[in-house]
Amino acid sequence: MFSYFANPVRFQNLCRILVPVLGIGALLLIVPAWVMGLFLVPPDYQQGDTFRIIYVHVPAVIVASLAYAFLAGASFVSFVWRHSLADTAAKAAAPVGAALTFLGLFTGALWGKPMWGAYWVWDARLTSTLIMLFLFLGYIAIRSAIRDEVASTRIAAITAMIGAINLPIIKFSVDWWSSLHQPASLLRAGGPAIDASMSWPLYMSIAGYACLFGWLVLQQMQSELDERRAYALVQRASGRIASKASAQSKGNPDA
């Protein structure tokens, strides 16, 4: 199926259906999930109303991690099979992933202050999320720094793959590091299981964020493909004008 839609024309036909579906899906999932989560769900017996940020925070981090996996996978396909559509996908996913990671870190800090007493804790999960933000930023930076189209595509793909190898190593080392240096009292393991009335809006909002990610990425990819086509048309048209001009000047030696 993937190879069928790897054709840009078929892909754009697919996009014409998927983009509105995902966009409306994101709207229909996120808005009710937030209304329920922020106003209707009962407050947590320990955390009170503070826990409501979960409906903004958790989906952002989950979808951001999926976005990095998507970026690394698309980069791998683009590097090995040199498929331009995979590269377009990676290019479109990186800024969205970076924004979601930032949103996750920011809301996490706001949540951390009342709960743990600190905006930032060097916990394994926080640290690897921060590193993920740097990996996204590094990808975007190296991509925009290299002028040559082919080179920037391939170098950026290698960068994304290095990051994919590095993320588990970081996670492992920080686990080791914080277990040595940091008391475990800050983060309770497990905690009370979440009630169904609280979990449903959470699942909805995760699905909604995923739709939002897909919507943004596909739209960006569409406009990228349109831009390429427009560029190709301009090239062809200017080539036609140039050849006509040279033909005229040949036919008319006085001119």
Partner: protein, 219 residues
């Protein structure tokens, strides 16, 4: 080691000798960093001596990234890399030779100065040897990881900051285990073994990735 690699390393060392001392940049930065951090931390001896292993490792890992932006860039620009490639020589060997020579030229002076730097920060004499050993074991990880990133940006001018942005996250793991190893004050600690494993892994992976990147630049 093949004669091509040893020839390359010899050439790099001769070049460094004629470069008017730019090879010492890393070592100078290393010493300056420790001196300035001593000022920043204040005169309290005990406070400083607790932080000494962390600061020495931090200074060494940053200093080893200096001048990395020129590691491949010059050879790419003046055609050395192309000659090597057209000659049918392996680019993996080229990267290994470059990494080893960066290690010898830039990192070895830092390594030699590291016990002195630790002592200046007030570290107890008992951990000086361990500081040296941990940097000797972790050094290849710092140099090979940074060198791999410098191959990615070889065709860019002024890529220093970009290299640090990409290699920064890679340095987290050696830094954690390097400082941990010194703090255990134990020569047989598992931190030191993991640090060795990270170095060995970097020595295997980095030349391959650098080769992929150099091939892109030669296309």
């Amino acid at each position: 080691m093949t004669s091509a690699i040893t020839g390359l390393i010899g050439r790099e060392i001769r070049k460094a000798g004629r470069s008017g001392g730019s090879w010492a940049q890393g070592a100078v930065f290393f010493i300056l960093f420790t001196v300035l951090s001593a000022f920043a931390l204040g005169p309290e001896q005990e406070f400083r001596s607790n932080l000494a292993p962390a600061l020495v490792w931090l200074a060494a890992s940053l200093a080893s990234q200096l001048s990395l932006d020129r590691l491949f860039a010059e050879d790419l620009r003046d055609g050395t890399l192309e000659c090597w490639f057209v000659d049918g020589q392996s680019l993996v060997e080229f990267s290994i030779g470059k990494f080893i020579s960066h290690w010898l030229v830039v990192f070895t002076p830092i390594l030699i100065l590291s016990p002195l730097a630790a002592l200046m920060l007030g570290a107890p004499v008992s951990i000086l040897a361990l500081t040296f050993i941990s940097l000797a074991i972790g050094g290849p990880a710092l140099v090979f990881m940074g060198g791999m990133v410098s191959a990615l940006t070889a065709n860019l001018r002024g890529s220093g900051l970009l290299i640090v942005l990409i290699s920064g996250p890679l340095l987290a793991a050696p830094l954690i285990f390097g400082v941990g190893a010194v703090q255990t004050a134990d020569i047989a600690s598992s931190e030191l073994k993991i640090l060795g494993a990270i170095s060995l892994g970097a020595m295997v992976i980095a030349p391959v990735i650098a080769t992929l990147a150099l091939k892109v630049h030669l296309e």
